[in-house]
């Protein structure tokens, strides 16, 4: 490796209206007198879609191509059957994926790897987070991370943090924040990268986190219109909190024994302490039998909370797992208690580690039973413990019932993770939020009805304008808050971004259109989980069409990566987007690199001009 000189590594991240576009470029030189393998390995957030990858060797560029997954697989079927596989994308930690590829480089040759990915940053607990994996593994002559954030509504704060080996590097991060722009720059010199003055090891090894928030209008929200597409952000934090009914459904089956059960108890103790006094709560434990702390909901008074904590201390793991019965019991509890004296908002939080092993074990039947029982009247949030959890069951259960699922990693901070998740959903501010756009100005809307809105989160709706020229349209936001229903009405007006960000060509490009495409694909992929088999086909086709059109590597597409292998042959590999199921086991490579039949490199530089005969020539003039 010492004879591979990493000449530069640059991470260029541009965020406009929460949509992040990151380009990672690494240039390396083989200083040896023999061919050597050069590795390119970078981390990207698991919420991101790869959009491009290229390898350039001595002026020749190998560009990757996004293809329909099945088509790509069929193309390389013979390679799969011969067992020639290796992973290009692997799960890495809790929130990242690793993209890695290597290429054989001739002596004294240069190689440039360029990976591009995009993601819509989600607001959690009052901030957006940009994560950049920084692991060059050796000293780099020119190392740069440049992050530019453009938020037309104004930036509230920007915090930069890192998990490098030591904190010595953090003061080198330069941060400039003006009203609507933020610039973060990190470029340690060779000496600053070294672990000691004579060492060749690098200190740069960790993640860089940039957290920021924007100013949120408290009425209709923030709307950006650019190039015929719009995005609407709605995140009014200054609203009174709504009380809720919450039932914790706790798996106490045998597989929870040990650390998981201990962490669950610890987390519940903290969560119970933080219940709001106007909330009502219940505790249901299940193995193959169901027990509840009390058969009814209790107000979160200090006395009740103290008694509940005493109950939590007694929860022990034992026996088998009957998720179906546990959930139906909780639904029944919430349904029975629903009356004028209880809050409108009800939620179930399921904590489990395992596959059902008792009672109803047919997963689709469990989903059907729970969905029928809930019938849109409450939300279900699922927390899955352990690598062997049947995450797709939990994910589907949550999506079918207006909630979300989260994996809780079995590490020392599992209790913190649990608590963090609860904090996200602990403070509902609104119910039945509808973002409407009266008239015919907008089309191709993403989801515009949301069952609930939690403090610190954000509702995002994007769409296309019927006419490119449309720069204003009616907007209406309605929701149920504490007390009664409210409706905000207003007119969305395209801002003169030119005056806001006069120097930036990027933001006048197609980023809102890509944001719309990203959000639409995500929602179509989610919708597939809960729609009928007939609708599923259509939904999948739509998501695939958009993935291909916008060059996104999603769970429906693969990126075919071509790289030179020998003088006459190019090797073809495939990069896929991991699904949650595939992330379960982070120890195994998840996906395949498939070897294609050899391709001849075809470059002709000697040409002789001839008059066109029967062939159709094209003569044209245009701009781009």
């Amino acid at each position: 490796l010492s004879q591979i000189e990493v000449q530069s590594m640059r991470v260029d991240c541009k965020v406009a209206s929460r949509f992040a576009h990151t380009v990672m470029t690494t240039k390396a030189l083989n200083t040896a007198n023999a061919s050597q393998e050069v590795f390119f390995e970078v981390d990207l957030p698991k919420t991101a879609f790869i959009t491009n990858f290229s390898i350039e060797i001595e002026g020749r560029i190998y560009v990757s191509e996004v293809k329909e997954k099945e088509q790509a697989r069929q193309q390389y079927e013979s390679a799969v059957s011969s067992g020639l596989t290796a992973g290009l994308v692997k799960a890495s930690g809790r929130n990242m994926e690793t993209f890695s590829v290597s290429v054989n480089i001739a002596p004294q040759s240069r190689v440039t790897f360029t990976l591009t990915y995009e993601e819509l940053l989600q607001r959690r607990l009052g901030s957006y987070e940009i994560m950049i994996g920084v692991r060059p593994k050796q000293l780099v002559q020119n190392f740069e991370i440049v992050v530019d954030i453009y938020e037309p509504n104004g930036i509230a704060f920007v915090d930069v943090n890192g998990t490098f080996i030591t904190n010595e590097l953090l003061p080198l991060v330069k941060k400039t924040v003006t009203d609507k722009k933020a610039h973060v720059y990190f470029s340690p010199t060779l000496d600053q990268q070294k672990t000691c003055s004579d060492c060749e090891e690098t200190l740069v090894d960790g993640d860089l986190f940039i957290r920021y928030d924007v100013n949120h209008p408290q009425d209709i929200g923030e709307i950006q219109i650019i190039n015929g597409y719009f995005v609407h952000f709605f995140a009014p934090d200054d609203l009174p909190q709504m009380p809720k009914n919450v039932v914790f459904v706790i798996d106490r089956s045998g597989s929870m024994e040990g650390e998981k059960m201990k962490q669950t108890r610890e987390a519940l103790m903290t969560i119970l302490s933080e219940l709001h006094e106007d909330d009502y709560f219940g505790l249901v434990t299940f193995d193959d039998t169901i027990e509840s702390w009390r058969p009814f909901l209790s107000k979160a008074t200090p006395e009740n909370v103290t008694e509940a904590k005493e109950f939590v201390k007694t929860i022990e793991a034992r026996h088998m797992t009957d998720i179906n019965k546990g959930l139906l019991f909780a639904v029944d509890m919430l349904t029975t208690e629903k009356s004028h004296s209880f809050p409108d908002m009800s939620m179930i939080i399921l904590l489990t580690d395992g596959r059902p092993s008792s009672g109803q074990r047919d997963l689709s039947k469990i989903q059907e039973n729970v969905q029928n029982a809930i019938n849109g009247s409450m939300s279900l949030f699922c927390l899955g413990f352990g690598y062997d959890v049947d995450y797709s069951l939990l994910d589907t259960l949550a999506k079918q019932n207006d909630g979300l699922a989260r994996r809780v990693y079995e590490a020392s901070d599992a209790a913190l993770q649990l608590q963090g998740f609860y904090d996200e959903v602990a403070t509902p501010l609104l119910l039945e939020v509808n973002l409407n756009y009266p008239g015919n100005a907008v089309t191709d809307l993403t989801q515009s009805h949301f069952r609930q809105f939690f403090k610190g989160s954000e509702i995002v709706v994007a769409g296309r304008l019927q006419e490119l020229e449309t720069n204003t349209f009616q907007t209406e936001v309605s929701a149920n808050g504490l007390g009664d229903q409210f409706v905000f009405e207003g007119v969305a007006i395209a801002e003169e971004w030119d005056s806001v960000f006069p120097d930036q060509e990027y933001i006048f490009g197609d980023f809102i259109e890509r944001l719309w495409a990203y959000l639409t694909i995500q929602q179509l992929l989610d919708k597939r989980e809960k729609c009928s088999p007939e609708d599923k086909e259509n939904t999948t086709a739509q998501a695939l069409d958009l993935s291909l059109r916008y060059n996104f590597v999603t769970p429906l597409t693969s990126m075919v990566v071509t790289k030179p292998e020998t003088e006459d042959e190019d090797e073809t590999l495939i990069a896929d987007k991991l699904t949650e199921d595939q992330r379960e086991d982070t120890t195994e490579p998840d996906l395949s690199a498939l070897y294609a039949p050899p391709q001849k490199a075809g470059s002709v530089y000697q040409v002789q001009g001839l008059k066109p005969q029967n062939l159709i020539s094209s003569y044209f003039v245009d701009g781009d």
């Binding site: 002026g59 000697q606 002789q608 066109p612 003039v621 245009d622």
Partner: protein
């Protein structure tokens, strides 16, 4: 504007830019025997992106067929047709098909205009619509020759001179000024030029993203490839 000359029998293409003061009118096609003339007027960006140079595009085309008394003015706003004293006005905002004795027109809403002149040629004009509030760019037009085989051997103009092919040879690649691109020597029309391997876009199929066409780029407004220099093609009016 970017000019692209595709030569499929050589499996290659040539390209060059012509930039001049906005408002300048260039002759693209002139074929005295058939009486066909195509001129185009260039426009600039609304303003120049800081640090960049001014780019120009075609904003208006004038097409004349003297034999049939046809004049066609196509701009980013409207399409005006006159045939032996009769006038008609079309908008880009509606689909429209007109089949005349000597000329067929087909407007595809906000996208393209196909002009077919009887027993002679077929052109496609593409409308590139830009968001009106875009701070730098504005609507512009692209011009594509779909069928040129009935032009006479005397056809000329910035595009017309290539309608009957061009002979060229290109030497081996070598590193150029731009570290991301390779240069080569091109021998064409008795000249030796340094050309750069690059690509331009053909927007016929996908008006938004276009399709990349690899080509040899001739620098300095096509000097050396063009007969004469680009300013020789400046004319005083669209018709």
């Amino acid at each position: 504007p970017h000019f692209i000359i595709e030569l499929p029998d050589q499996n290659d293409a040539l390209c060059f830019n012509i930039d001049h003061k906005p408002g300048t009118i260039f002759n693209l096609v002139r074929d005295p025997p058939t009486g066909i003339v195509v001129n185009g007027q260039i426009i600039g960006d609304k303003k120049i992106i800081p640090g960049n140079k001014m780019h120009t595009y075609f904003g208006r085309f004038g097409i004349v067929n003297e034999k049939f008394g046809i004049r066609l003015m196509v701009s980013t706003k409207e399409i005006l047709v006159s045939e032996r004293g009769k006038h008609a006005n079309f908008s880009w905002t509606n689909n429209k098909t007109l089949e005349g004795l000597n000329m067929d027109l087909q407007v595809i809403k906000d996208r393209s205009l196909t002009v077919t002149l009887r027993n002679s040629v077929k052109f496609l004009i593409i409308l590139h619509k830009i968001w009106k509030m875009h701070p730098y760019h504005q609507d512009y037009l692209g011009f594509y020759t779909l069928d040129s085989h009935l032009f006479s051997s005397n056809v000329h103009g910035l595009l017309g001179q290539f309608y009957h092919g061009v002979n060229f040879e290109v030497s081996d690649l070598f590193p150029g000024k731009d570290p991301d691109k390779q240069d080569a020597n091109m021998f064409v029309k008795g000249n030796k030029l340094t050309v750069t391997r690059g690509w331009k876009r053909d927007f016929r199929q996908d008006v938004k993203n276009g399709e990349k066409v690899p080509c040899w780029f001739i620098h300095n407004n096509g000097t050396g490839l063009l007969d004469g220099v680009h300013t020789d093609y400046i004319v005083s009016g669209l018709f």
